[in-house]
């Protein structure tokens, strides 16, 4: 690291529109990136980490104004360049990868077409890339990002590729002209852990085989631990700590950094004691769900088996985690248990009642026993209803008198650590974490026996996530609530649950106490999942 930095950000301040909560997206930040190194910018949502990345690309949205400071790329201040010069840099000397691989590629053009575009621009002086080399270099690129059958892939459209494959195409595209700097904005956040692990491998490859400096923006310390050489920690638009990976991860100096690291859900695999002799509240046997779609005139049947023969029991106040990657059928299973979807096979008994057989009014009456909290705190609340109406909806359906229900609503709001005057407000006035608490309160209004949490904390920042997890744990301990925790995050599962059920392609691959499954996984898939958890190495060290 003795050479000159590729990129130097100096005292950059970016103003937000006047109406916002904050005046500045980032304020007086400075950082350097050196050739060949991977710099991670880490922080929670709203910390300004992405804004910084976009500022380097001169891709800030129009409403954000770069107020002061300078960004030097190889000694030239990017902020003073004309748009034509900026375009010459983009994709060429500085390239960028985004979070959402599903939408980052133009759906109307083939992969080949979009890759070839990289070469259709002005060649670098002294390095004319002629058309003959192109085809070869594109194939080379695709091999570099370990895409199978690259020749065929060139003719494919983005929708024919999986998310991981698309992200690799994005990386290939970004690396096409061997840029001096690659900016990756949360490139693995929306991917499954196993896919994420493979993409992170590619980034490690890049670092080893190229001279390219990488800025890697992420909120996940696990990911940071996997690839970072140096780390910049941001909070509310300011840099709170900068240092080498080892120093920041293991001996964080700033309180905020320490708080963040502390909030990361830990892999907790110790045995938990269950209250002895607790009764079984839920008995699921051989649950199966197949989706049928009929298409066209022929009305031919297409089937997708989303859930296959899933069985488990839940004792009172027990917590079971259902883990699996996207498409494993875990959410479908949760919805089947709720009778939000009708199952095709199996039986479900809740408190001894055959839940699947219920119809009409008796179904409504028994719904009280099992309630759910969803992943997206934004679409989980009716934006047209006040919190009061939202909370009182369930009791009203069961004929609970208004004053009584209102008293419970007030009490539950206190339980989820919200102010009572929240009752008269609308969802748009709450943050994501607050909304998720409201959802929990709503689910608890009916005093259910079982609470299903369907990825309930996945969309939250780590610090908020840990608070919500703690809240759920508290409630469970106090009220003897039975928890069914659906998540893709094994660490989260280990935090709150006693038992775990691992799903893959709709079926159960492994089922047992957390301590057993996580410490000594029997099934190879469980092993792969565990191995893919980012930062495992670091966490086991610390």
């Amino acid at each position: 690291m003795n050479s000159a930095p590729v990129l130097s950000v100096r005292d950059v301040s970016i103003a937000l529109p006047a109406s916002g909560e904050r005046a500045y997206a980032v304020r007086n930040i400075s950082l350097d990136v050196y050739p060949g190194e991977t710099l991670c910018i880490v922080g929670e949502s709203g910390s300004g980490k992405s804004v910084t990345a976009y500022a380097v690309m001169r891709l800030l949205p129009k409403m954000m104004r770069l107020e002061s400071g300078a960004i030097f790329f190889r000694g030239r201040n990017i902020l003073n360049l004309s748009m034509a010069d900026v375009r010459a840099l983009r994709g060429n000397a500085v390239s960028m990868i985004f979070q959402e691989p599903m939408t980052a590629l133009n759906p109307s053009f083939t992969i080949g077409n979009q890759l070839r575009e990289m070469y259709s621009r002005r060649p670098k002086p002294g390095d004319p890339k002629g058309p003959p080399q192109r085809a070869a270099s594109i194939l080379e690129l695709l091999e570099m990002v370990r895409l199978p059958d690259p020749a065929r892939l060139l003719g494919a459209y983005p929708h024919q590729l999986s998310g991981g494959q698309r992200q690799r195409v994005m990386i290939a595209m970004a690396m096409a002209l061997q840029p001096a700097l690659l900016i990756a904005d949360e490139p693995t956040t929306s991917l499954d852990v196993t896919t994420q692990a493979r993409i992170l491998d590619i980034f490690r490859d890049l670092r080893e085989n190229n001279d390219t400096a990488i800025i890697f923006v992420t909120h996940d310390f696990g990911v940071v631990a996997e690839i970072a050489e140096r780390i910049v920690v941001m909070e509310k638009g300011a840099i709170v700590e900068t240092g080498t990976a080892g120093q920041v991860l293991n001996t964080p100096r700033h309180a905020y950094t320490r708080k963040l690291i502390a909030a990361i859900p830990r892999m907790r695999a110790e045995k938990k004691a269950l209250a002895p002799g607790a009764g079984t509240v839920l008995k699921a046997d051989g649950i199966g769900k197949t989706f049928y779609t009929r298409r066209g005139l022929t009305r031919r049947l297409y089937t997708v088996a989303a859930v296959k023969d899933v069985s488990f029991h839940l004792k009172k106040s027990e917590a079971l985690a259902i883990v699996g990657e996207s498409g494993s059928g875990k959410t479908t299973l949760a919805r089947c248990l709720m009778r939000l979807l009708e199952t095709d096979a199996g039986t479900l008994k809740i408190n001894g009642v055959d839940f699947m057989a219920l119809r009409g009014d008796s179904l409504v009456r028994h719904r009280r026993a099992i309630q759910i909290v969803f992943q997206d705190p934004y679409s989980s609340l009716n934006p047209r209803k006040t919190i009061r109406d939202t909370l009182l909806q369930g009791p009203a359906n069961f004929g609970v008198p208004g004053p009584q229900a209102l008293a419970r609503a007030r009490q539950l709001l206190r339980t989820v650590q919200l102010d009572e005057n929240a009752l008269n407000r609308y969802p748009n006035q709450f943050s994501g974490g607050q909304r998720q608490r409201i959802c929990i309160a709503r689910a608890l209004m009916l005093s259910p026996d079982i609470l299903v949490a369907d990825e309930a904390v996945s969309a939250l920042d780590v610090s908020v996530q840990s608070e919500v997890l703690k809240l759920l744990d508290d409630i469970r301990n106090r009220t003897g609530l039975t928890l069914l925790f659906v998540t893709h995050d094994l660490r989260v599962a280990s935090q709150v649950c006693d038992r775990v059920l691992v799903m893959k392609d709709g079926g159960v691959v492994e089922h047992g106490p957390v301590s057993e499954v996580f410490n000594a996984p029997r099934h190879p898939y469980t092993q792969t999942l565990l191995a893919a958890i980012p930062g495992r190495h670091w966490r086991s060290l610390s």
């Binding site: 949502s45 992405s50 804004v51 976009y54 949205p61 129009k62 409403m63 954000m64 985004f98 979070q99 959402e100 904005d185 949360e186 956040t189 909120h219 919805r335 709720m338 939000l340 409504v364 009456r365 719904r367 009280r368 099992i370 309630q371 759910i372 969803f374 992943q375 997206d376 679409s379 989980s380 609340l381 009716n382 934006p383 047209r384 209803k385 909806q393 369930g394 359906n397 069961f398 407000r425 609308y426 748009n428 006035q429 959802c439 709503r442 689910a443 209004m445 009916l446």
Partner: protein, 292 residues
Amino acid sequence: MGGFTSHAGAPGKSFRGFLSHHGLVVSGGILGLIFIGAVFAPLLSAYDPYTQDLANRHIPPVWYERGTWEHFLGTDALGRDYWTRLLYGARASLFIGFVSATIAGLLGVALGVSAGYFGGRVDAAITFLINLRLSLPVILVALAVVALFSGTFLVIVVLLGCLLWDRYAVVTRTLTKQLKEKEFIASSVALGSSRTGIIAKDILPNLANHLIVVWTLEIAHAILLEAALSFLGLGVQPPTPSWGLMVSEGKDLLFFEGWLIAIPGCALFLLVLSINLVGDGIRDVTAPENLT
């Protein structure tokens, strides 16, 4: 996390917001005036809209040389006071616009929500109905029906109601489909709400501000259609004044007494314009982001 992807549209929206806020005040004012004019027509004019004065036909408005303050907007071909006809004509336009757009709304929303909420065969049947309705040329069908059943208020209102429901149905169907996937609907089911309860309390309130916009659009649409029917001689029956009819009557002297069609034409234009702007304004004001 990944920041800000959907803000690029915001400046446009804010300008629209700006315009509709000012537009809402101005257009609401105009609409209010027309409404007051229609309701209090007898108080605002000394004349009866049907009383003829054949000796005083085609007196031009006051700003012409031959104009008088007695009939400050002049008189029509039968010597009836034009201002009075205009005031009473607003009743026809507003009544037909509001009632037929409302009938269409009830029809369209019922169909659209059912299609969106129940899906499957219900959806297929209603989609078919929507396609059927869209494929019928509105004006021709309206003309044929009015020619067959004569243009009473009842016929026109029911006819327009039956012809203008498509946009409601399309909008509510799409939105209901989207809403149905939202997790708060699933929560409602889990909390034991009935279908009607969910439709009434979770779906309809979230459609409301879209529906208000469609409603105003359809009011404007119905008013223009009625005016076109009247213009072709098949709308509201004379001597009941209606603005389309007044344009049609004034058309004969288009090249000589232009004000005869300019006045009801402008009134029609202002009315439709203000209804559209009020619709835009109401949508912006009632958007969920602005709920407090």
